[in-house]
């Protein structure tokens, strides 16, 4: 299992379209991936789960992954968040 903490930096935070991008990306990997804030831990492949996090700009989220492609999956998700979901 590997984990990484990262700050949401795009202006709108983890809003609907950003969340959809994240969930679709997570869905491409075989590993079990979770994304969590201080209060809530959600399955990164679940759109309702990720939206429930309601993670705004500057929120620190923790990504955890376990499975055959855990390293790749975390890299890809961290990349997406670092690149502000292709927004801004």
């Amino acid at each position: 299992m590997i984990e990484k903490e990262i700050t949401i930096t795009n202006k709108l935070g983890l809003h609907a379209r950003a969340a959809a991008k994240l969930v679709n990306l997570a869905g491409k990997f075989h590993s079990h991936i979770t994304i969590s804030t201080e209060q809530i831990c959600a399955d990164a492949k679940s759109i309702l789960g990720v939206l429930t996090l309601a993670a705004g700009k500057d929120t620190v989220v923790k990504i955890e992954a376990e499975g055959p492609d855990e390293k790749k999956s975390i890299e890809a998700i961290v990349n997406l968040i670092q690149n502000k979901f292709g927004e801004d």
């Binding site: 299992m1 991936i33 979770t34 831990c41 492949k45 679940s46 309702l48 789960g49 939206l51």
Partner: protein
């Protein structure tokens, strides 16, 4: 695996919140308003009893503390110095608050010590038994620890079924099938589970309530599509069903005589694993699983009865 990690949240409340939330106990503040931001994190009420006689071993400062008729009568028999000697160590501990029940008048020394140590001193006109009952009930609700779990919770024939399983195994689709058959959805995808005593209660996080995601259709609103009867605010979790791709199964349970359990926050819940494969109608199977649990609760174990019958027959063959 991230799934097995439990991120349990233990809520706590301030004495100020406690005063407004537990209205049934009819509490009023006598003194110590500067301490209203002290924390309460345990639902049990501590009656001071022997602590007053100099036995403070079991005191937990984050509990609610209480004195009733016995304690007040005991204190009233003591001299002023003895009262202070008995009470001061308790207030020095910075206990969350102290309640005097039955509308009794607290000794002067108690009021002074409460004021000096900024400990909220509260009064209730009700008898100790009721005060303890109302506070414990209320605090068990408010202080119930909770976790968030990935899964779908549905009320099937009154049985709270928590479906788990990897993404896109068909949990939401199964829940939809069940809703069409007049069962009720509690939460899709993410469930907030509270532990109250030895039971687990699941509900949807506010933002996700009544919503469901179906691949290709997006997020839908269940109560608008199916009416309010298709939803349930919260439900006790009675059964965990793990949906797994059939090819992942090494040995499927073919008898059903072994009871399996899964633990959530230390509470054991009966669990089964269902292989998902084409031709298996999962909603149908969940209805049967729920009915079977109801039968078991009535003491009817179909699988075991059959095994016993078969064993008897084997004996007669000899």
């Amino acid at each position: 695996m991230p799934d097995s990690q439990e991120k349990v949240t233990y809520p706590l409340i301030t004495v100020k919140e406690f005063l407004t939330h537990i209205s049934k106990a009819e509490l009023t503040l006598i003194t110590g308003e500067n301490g209203l931001n002290r924390k309460i994190n345990r639902p049990r009420v501590q009656k001071l009893g022997l602590i007053l006689a100099g036995f403070p071993e079991f005191i937990h400062k984050e509990r609610v503390h209480l004195v009733g008729n016995t304690e007040i009568c005991y204190l009233n028999k003591l001299s002023s110095e003895e009262k202070i000697k008995s009470l001061k160590p308790i207030f020095d501990l910075q206990i969350s608050c102290l309640i005097v029940t039955k509308g009794l008048t607290p000794p002067e020394e108690m009021v002074t010590l409460a004021k000096e140590s900024d400990t909220p001193l509260l009064s209730s006109p009700l008898r100790t038994t009721f005060v303890i009952q109302y506070i414990s009930e209320g605090l068990q609700d408010i202080l119930a620890p909770f976790v968030h779990k990935h899964g779908v919770l549905v009320d099937v024939f009154g049985v709270g079924v928590l479906m788990k399983g990897g993404s896109s195994i068909g949990k939401s689709e199964t829940a939809l099938d069940l809703i069409v058959r007049k069962h009720r959805l509690v939460s899709d995808d993410i469930i907030e589970i509270r532990k109250k005593g030895e039971i687990l209660i699941g509900k949807a996080p506010d933002i996700a309530m009544g919503r469901m995601e179906l691949r290709g259709l997006g997020i839908i609103n269940i109560s608008e599509l199916f009416g309010i009867v298709a939803l349930r605010d919260e439900k006790i979790i009675d059964l965990i069903v793990n949906l797994q791709p059939a090819q992942d199964f090494e040995d499927v349970d073919r008898l059903g005589i072994d009871e399996k359990f899964e633990e959530i926050m230390g509470v054991k819940i009966p669990s089964i694993s269902l292989p998902v494969a084409s031709g298996r109608n999962i909603a149908n199977l969940l209805e049967i699983a729920a009915s079977n649990l109801l039968l078991k609760r009535k003491g009817k174990y179909s699988a075991q009865e059959f095994v016993i019958k078969q064993r008897d027959r084997l004996k007669h063959r000899k």
